[in-house]
């Protein structure tokens, strides 16, 4: 038992080390970042000015708001469309549904970088470039999410929907009143995963946004970079602040998230 605890502790320590390094670095001066020997925190000379700089001299709050806006709007639409798509492909079935779904899956195999230039040209042509919609709209459709919801609805008890039909519900009503509430757990998990994935996106905002006022947190993080190197201490201070909403969302929904994973809510 003790040995097992030690092993778990060690594994936990490995996972938490980057986080500790992040906090430690955020409280240092730039020339202390890679000092040897490593000092966790210089208690006699803690550098709080990195945080002060981030909060007063940068557009951190704007970046934070932009990130939250893009992530929340994208995630909501993604969940709605994933549920609709999953229900259609997994439960309703229809002529050529397998073939259409295969086409959806095939899109997963196209490397994102390959689509970047055509996407950029399309967005420019229709005027979406340098707007948050250039980030939101592509994020609303996620093939993997549709796939996961399809797997859920494949094993969904048909009797429940049939009962709804018998009671006079139409296709949308039975979806909204019966299927959707029962899909709460996988949708919650998908929502959390989507939140983290979209929150971390860097390349899309980098390419599609020009105006600094539209930047999201990952782009803001790169502001502390010169052509010669990075200001790690400043970056880590921003990262510490930026992690708060993510941590908040995770902690708030942790119980449901773990439950859904444990109970294999997303059946494959």
């Amino acid at each position: 038992m003790t040995l097992r605890s030690i092993v778990y502790l060690l594994i936990g320590f490995v996972f938490i080390t980057p986080l500790l390094w992040m906090v430690s670095t955020s409280l240092k001066y730039e020339n202390q970042v890679f000092e040897r020997p490593f000092v966790f925190i210089h208690l006699d000379n803690v550098n709080w000015s990195n945080y002060a700089h981030i909060l007063t001299q940068t557009d951190f709050l704007t970046w934070l708001w932009n990130s939250l806006f893009v992530v929340l709007v994208s995630s909501c639409f993604r969940l709605l469309l994933a549920a609709l798509g999953g229900y259609a492909f997994g439960y309703l079935r229809f002529r050529y549904s397998e073939a259409i779904f295969f086409c959806f899956l095939a899109a997963l195999f196209i490397p994102y970088q390959l689509t970047l230039l055509p996407q950029f040209i399309s967005f420019r042509f229709i005027g979406l470039l340098d707007t948050h919609w250039a980030l939101i709209l592509p994020n609303t459709i996620d093939i993997l999410s549709i796939f996961l919801m399809r797997q859920f609805f494949l094993s969904f008890p048909k009797e429940l929907i049939h009962a709804a039909y018998i009671e006079g519900s139409g296709i949308f009503r039975s979806f909204a009143r019966v299927a959707l509430p029962l899909a709460r757990t996988p949708l919650l998990t998908l929502g959390l995963l989507s939140f983290f994935m979209i929150w971390d996106q860097y390349f899309q905002p980098l390419i599609f946004l020009h105006s600094k006022s539209l930047y999201t947190i990952p782009l803001g993080l790169q502001s502390f970079q010169t052509q010669f190197g990075k200001q790690y201490a400043m970056q880590m201070a921003l990262a510490c602040l930026a992690i708060i909403p993510v941590l908040g969302v995770f902690l708030a929904l942790q119980k449901q998230f773990v439950e859904s994973i444990v109970s294999s809510g997303l059946k494959g």
């Binding site: 001066y29 259609a88 470039l129 609303t140 459709i141 390419i207």
Partner: protein, 455 residues
């Protein structure tokens, strides 16, 4: 019934996918770029908006915002739309914007990046347009030669001014006299001094020499020897020339024989940053003006209890006594698809004359006074007992300095540098001989140059 609704649900999904390709015509769209008012110069009183692509460190500063206010007040018919990109991803964004036909009017780039753009056919020659705004590209930037086919594609901002920075405390502790402020050491002398001041026996190791894992720290000595001849006469890689071999061997001597510099494996493993020099554990480093701008003058961010000194950068024995510099020019350039080349060059001219100087860098443009720049820098470094005379001599005020190329910029410059850095560490770890390293780099870079010439 079920089929019908199933098809409807899938249709919604598909329609939403397509919605990603539809939306309002916002700023930045083609419509915005081609407004009639922006297609002509300000001569008719119409407003021109210039899209200016640059790296974040230059566009996000308070000084740049102040410069823009001054510029737009001076030229009310020219508006500037700055696009700021972190340097790490700058080339990706630049390539996508230019390859997609996005109208960009002015782009920033260092030597490698601008020659990459020239090779890709992104840029327009500037000589004729420059005449229109009163600039002579062959005279107004000192000894600045045409880039390709006798034409200038780059509008120079500043060039690096390299020197030797040293830690006076490390020299004092070792009882070794400081380097001469005017007469450069030879590389061999530097190796000896580095060995003398190295002390790796204590708890806090002190290496006599610090280096960056950048190409010039390995091949730069060779560049001084052969006047920056990184390419053979037929345009292929010249990295296997004896001068570069000697350069790599010198570094091996300092690092692995004299043990006066951190072993490269440790350097990479520690993720050593180029600003690590300023934590005090090193005696000397060859660095450019950016060390002064980023660290030496910013003691609030890089606090230190030791004084820094500056001296000319070391030279080969054959060049003893001469003041040499590795030249790498940052510049602005006008993409071919710009519709406002003249206004772009007006912005470029004001950028170097006003902003560059105001932001603490020395512009190559000869029509601006540089005295204040030297005075401000000397004032910022006075706590290190560095004088105005030293600053003027080393930070770009010596007309007799001999400039050689800092790095390869002509054929496949990005591939040249990255291939070299990918392979060279194997020599210093003993995995490959110096001849094998240079041969391997040459083979790969030659292939990249040939490939590029086909495009």
């Amino acid at each position: 019934m079920v089929r019908k609704w199933g098809l409807l649900a899938v249709s919604i999904v598909l329609a939403s996918s397509l919605a990603a390709c539809g939306g309002k015509n916002d700023n930045g769209g083609e419509g915005a770029a081609s407004k009639p008012a922006e297609t002509t110069s300000g001569s008719k009183g119409e407003t021109v908006t210039l899209k200016f692509l640059n790296i974040s460190e230059y566009l996000d500063s308070a000084e740049f915002k102040e410069f823009l206010d001054r510029f737009e007040a001076k030229y009310p018919n020219i508006k500037v739309d700055p696009v700021s990109v972190p340097h790490e991803q700058y080339i990706n964004k630049r390539n996508i914007m230019l390859a997609s036909g996005e109208q960009v009017d002015l782009i920033w780039g260092n030597g490698v990046e601008q020659f990459d753009a020239i090779n890709k056919g992104f840029l327009m020659p500037l000589d004729d347009v420059a005449q229109e705004v009163g600039i002579d590209m062959s005279k107004d930037f000192g000894d600045f030669k045409p880039d390709k086919d006798g034409k200038h594609y780059r509008f120079p901002i500043q060039q690096n001014n390299w020197m030797l920075y040293y830690n006076k405390k490390v020299f004092d502790d070792a009882g070794v006299p400081y380097p001469d402020p005017k007469v450069p050491m030879t590389w061999d002398e530097m190796a000896e001094v580095a060995q003398k001041i190295t002390n790796t026996s204590g708890k806090d190791k002190v290496y006599g020499m610090f280096y960056n894992n950048w190409g010039m720290y390995f091949y730069g000595y060779g560049s001084q020897l052969n006047e920056g001849k990184f390419y053979t006469d037929d345009g292929m890689a010249n990295i296997d020339a004896p001068e570069f071999k000697r350069s790599l061997e010198w570094m091996n001597d300092v690092m692995n024989v004299r043990k006066a510099a951190m072993p490269i494996a440790e350097y990479i493993q520690n993720n050593t940053d180029f600003l690590s020099y300023w934590n005090g554990g090193y005696g000397m480093v060859v660095g450019a003006q950016w060390y002064a701008q980023l660290a030496a003058t910013k003691k609030d961010q890089y606090p230190r209890d030791w004084k820094a000194g500056i001296a000319p950068m070391p030279v080969p024995t054959e060049m003893a006594g001469k003041h040499m510099n590795w030249s790498n020019i940052d510049s602005l350039a006008v993409p071919k698809n710009s519709k406002h080349a003249k206004e772009a060059l007006i912005l470029a001219r004001e950028y170097v004359a006003d902003y560059t100087l105001g932001a603490g860098a020395l512009p190559m443009y000869t029509k601006v006074s540089k005295d204040q720049y030297f005075a401000d820098l000397a004032e910022a470094l006075k706590d290190d007992d560095i004088t105005l005379e030293q600053v003027t001599y080393l930070f770009g005020g010596d007309p007799d300095v001999i400039n050689v190329e800092e790095k390869p910029v002509l054929g496949a410059p990005q591939e040249y540098e990255s291939t070299f850095l990918d392979i060279v560490s194997q020599y210093y770890t003993g995995a490959m001989t110096v001849d094998d390293v240079l041969k391997s780099v040459k083979t790969k870079v030659d292939a990249a140059i040939v490939e590029q010439s086909k495009q």
